[in-house]
């Protein structure tokens, strides 16, 4: 029997990885991947709590929502990234700073 803590630890690790990916990747696609990691760690949390504490399917429902949301988010983000690439032939986010000051 896998305990709740094991789920949470895995989830936290994935979450940290996601955060670090977002903070340190220069590649926009990489950042997008980090975002997916964070979302999935949250999914994992929801499913774990659903199984051990709530005993209803509310957590699983939210997880499905998040999956749908992540899919649409990925679609929008990829479209932005594609436009970014067309504009400047790379997708380095450190160079995308027209909004500064």
């Amino acid at each position: 029997m896998i305990s709740l803590q094991s789920y949470l630890i895995i989830s936290a690790v994935v979450f940290i990885l996601g955060i670090l990916t977002i903070l340190y990747k220069k590649n926009a696609v990489g950042i997008l991947m980090g975002v997916e990691l964070i979302l999935n760690s949250v999914n994992l949390n929801f499913l774990a709590f659903s199984k051990y504490i709530d005993a209803h399917i509310n957590g699983q429902l939210v997880a499905i929502f998040i999956i749908i949301l992540a899919a649409s988010e990925a679609a929008v983000a990829l479209a932005i990234i594609l436009n970014l690439y067309r504009d400047r032939a790379n997708i380095d986010v450190t160079q995308v700073d027209q909004m500064k000051n």
């Binding site: 955060i19 977002i22 340190y24 986010v93 450190t94 700073d97 027209q98 500064k100 000051n101």
Partner: protein, 682 residues
């Protein structure tokens, strides 16, 4: 009858409106409009006269009025007509003289450039004068009073391109204003005390004693001040001689017969409210004016000025008559004087007209009014001569002429007054009157001798003098007929007195409101005095009139006395009279220069004191503003700028945080989350 009166009154107004707007485009420049209008008024006024003659009732009176101004309880004014015998006869006098003057002017003013305007003004004058006569309250009378004043101003200044005429018009108007100011104050006193302008209400109010004592006297004297101005009494007589700058028909109508008599008419209208003291003021002003103006007339060389001073003198008579309570005599003299004095002016106009044309023909220049350019016109202008002599006889007070009756009535009245009073100083009044009668006869015949008799002074002019056209001589003949005695004494034909005639019967002194208030007559004139005065008055005045005429002939015709030498002997007196007692100069030196000096003082005060204060306060304000400006610039603006600067600096500082690097923002969000978590846990 009221309707008739209204038509009489309003026809000249219609003529004025037509003439002033479209007169220039009408055939004959519209003279027939004015003449026709006044002609109809003239006929209708005689219709009214025959009606009152039919009534033959001394107490006849008609009144009709409509509400005009209504301000509730405080002020109500009716517009109405009051017709009594006095008003009807005055209307007849005005329309008669006015109509004849209109006709005469067709000849006299022929070819004048502003012909239509002249007729328009004449019509306006007739309208205003008739309104003055008929209106039933003092307010309306005052309006019309001012209107005749403005007509007088316009007509005196008819030849306004001449400086002297323009100035004479101004002088007449301003001098009249002085008197009218008194009139206005008198009106206000009456209104304050009685709350009405209506003549019959005033009568009632004074009878009941609502206005009495000193205030009543003041009201009477102040109202009389208006008459002093309008009727050219001393000391406001100076405008009338100068008013001769106007065309001669105007002098005849306005400045001899009607407008100047308005003052006398007003005193007749108001005689019921004159207190004893007010009446004495009236009597002495009139009496003094009578003799004072007569002495000036002796030495004048301008034919119209002699007549002007004569007019002042005769108006003095009428005023004096009003003052001594000889109401009927005063108004009688007004009526007869209007006829023969208008005639004298029209006659002098005829002479001036002739001399003027003669001067044009011979190309000589000079004053056509100057009697030193005349002489011997008798044969050249017979109609003018004969009518002029008739008028002069009437004016001098020779029996069988109207002037004798009226002047004698006045002189008898003053004599009776003096004899009835205990104070012998009142004999001054008959002395003034008889003295003036003597002088009048003298200067009128001096004028006739110098103008019509003797040798021509300027033979070259004499050759070209012609009788005036019929349109001018017929009015003279009509007026001459109206100067015959029996016109006024019918049904009696007694040449020595008008008692028993229609005029004396119809014109009775109204019951004095002051007497009703006091409970006894204002004057007590004994019957004995009246009788004695009547007989003595006739004898003395006939002697004096003939004496004056004989003296004039002795001086100027038979030349029994060397006039030049006599003049030299009494040079100071002669100069005094020739220069009109230096009244113009005195007024120039005192009133006018005094006012000018006062004005200069005010100007200096204005320029130096008031302007200094204004400028000083302006300077103070400027200094304050400069300080205030600095404060604004430095302190207020500094504070505002400091806030702005601070914001700017903050902005500059914080803007560095906004790098545009999305990862920094996420970093910040994370840090913030951690901080929140830490704070929550603590």
């Amino acid at each position: 009858m009221i309707q008739t009166a209204l038509i009489i009154w309003l026809l000249p107004l219609a003529a004025f409106v037509i003439n002033i707007f479209i007169g220039k485009r009408l055939p004959r420049k519209g003279d027939w409009v004015s003449t026709g209008a006044i002609g109809v008024s003239f006929l209708l006024s005689y219709y009214m006269l025959f009606q009152i003659l039919g009534n033959y009732n001394p107490d006849f009176a008609l009144q009709a009025s409509v509400p005009w101004i209504d301000l509730g309880e405080t002020f109500k004014l009716n517009m109405g007509i009051y017709l009594d015998n006095l008003a009807v006869i005055m209307t007849v006098v005005v329309t008669t003289v006015s109509f004849l003057v209109h006709v005469y002017s067709i000849g006299y003013m022929h070819g004048e450039p502003l012909y239509n305007r002249f007729y328009a003004y004449l019509s306006l004058f007739s309208f205003s004068m008739l309104g003055l006569i008929m209106w039933d309250n003092l307010f309306g009378i005052y309006i019309m009073w001012e209107l005749v004043g403005i007509c007088s101003y316009l007509l005196i200044g008819y030849y306004f391109e001449k400086d002297s005429a323009a100035n004479a018009g101004k002088k007449a108007f301003i001098t009249n204003r002085v008197g009218d100011f008194g009139f206005l104050i008198g009106l206000l006193i009456v209104f304050t005390a009685l709350g009405t302008f209506n003549l019959s209400d005033i009568h009632q109010g004074v009878s009941q004693g609502q206005l009495s004592g000193g205030l009543l006297t003041a009201a009477g004297v102040l109202l009389f001040a208006g008459a002093i101005g309008k009727s050219a009494q001393f000391p406001l007589h100076v405008w009338l001689p100068d008013a001769m700058e106007g065309p001669t028909p105007v002098s005849a109508l306005i400045h001899a017969a009607t407008m100047v008599a308005a003052g006398v008419y007003l005193m007749a209208r108001l005689s019921f409210m004159l207190s004893l003291d007010a009446m004495l003021v009236v009597a002495y002003v009139g009496g003094f004016t009578a003799i004072f103006a007569a002495t000036i007339a002796i030495t004048q060389n301008d034919i119209k000025r002699v007549l002007a001073y004569s007019t002042i003198s005769q108006l003095g008579y009428m005023i004096m008559a009003m003052g001594v309570g000889s109401y009927t005599a005063g108004f009688f003299h007004l009526t007869t004087h209007a006829m023969f004095k208008a005639g004298l002016f029209l006659g002098s106009g005829s002479v001036i007209h002739a001399v003027h044309h003669a001067m044009d023909k011979t190309g000589s220049h000079g004053d056509p009014n100057d009697i030193r350019n005349m002489g011997g016109f008798k044969d050249k202008m017979p109609v003018t001569y004969i009518t002029f002599v008739i008028f002069s006889l009437a004016l001098s007070g020779i029996p069988f002429f109207s002037g004798f009756l009226s002047k004698d009535a006045i002189l008898g009245g003053t004599l009776a007054f003096a004899m009835s009073q205990s104070n012998p100083i009142h004999y001054l009044l008959p002395v003034f009157g008889f003295g003036a009668a003597f002088i009048t006869a003298f200067y009128m015949f001096r004028l006739i001798i110098k103008t019509f008799l003797g040798q021509p002074q300027k033979p070259e002019l004499y050759e070209h003098v012609h009788e005036s056209p019929k349109v001018m001589t017929v009015p003279l003949m009509v007026l001459a007929a109206l100067s015959i005695w029996f016109i006024y004494t019918l049904p009696s034909v007694n040449p020595m007195g008008a008692a028993g005639g229609w005029f004396m019967h119809l014109i009775r002194q109204p019951i004095s409101a002051v007497a009703a208030q006091l409970g006894h007559p204002v004057y007590i004139i004994t019957e004995h005095a009246e009788h004695a005065a009547h007989v003595n008055g006739i004898i003395i005045s006939i002697i004096l009139a003939f004496g004056g005429i004989l003296l004039a002939f002795a001086f100027y015709f038979w030349k029994k006395v060397d006039v030049e030498a006599l003049t030299e002997k009494i040079k100071p007196l002669y100069n005094l009279s020739l220069n009109k007692y230096y009244f113009d100069e005195i007024y120039q030196a005192t009133v006018i220069n005094g006012l000018l000096a006062w004005n200069n003082l005010l100007k200096w005060f204005d320029e130096n004191i008031i302007d200094f204060i204004v400028n000083f306060s302006a300077k103070v304000v400027r200094v304050f503003s400069a300080f205030d400006g600095k404060f604004d610039n430095l302190v207020i603006d500094g504070m505002v700028n400091a806030v702005a600067d601070m914001t700017l600096q903050f902005g500059r500082g914080f803007k560095k945080l906004q790098t545009g690097q999305i990862q920094y923002y996420i970093m910040g969000a994370l840090l913030g989350t951690f901080l929140i978590i830490i704070f929550t846990l603590i």
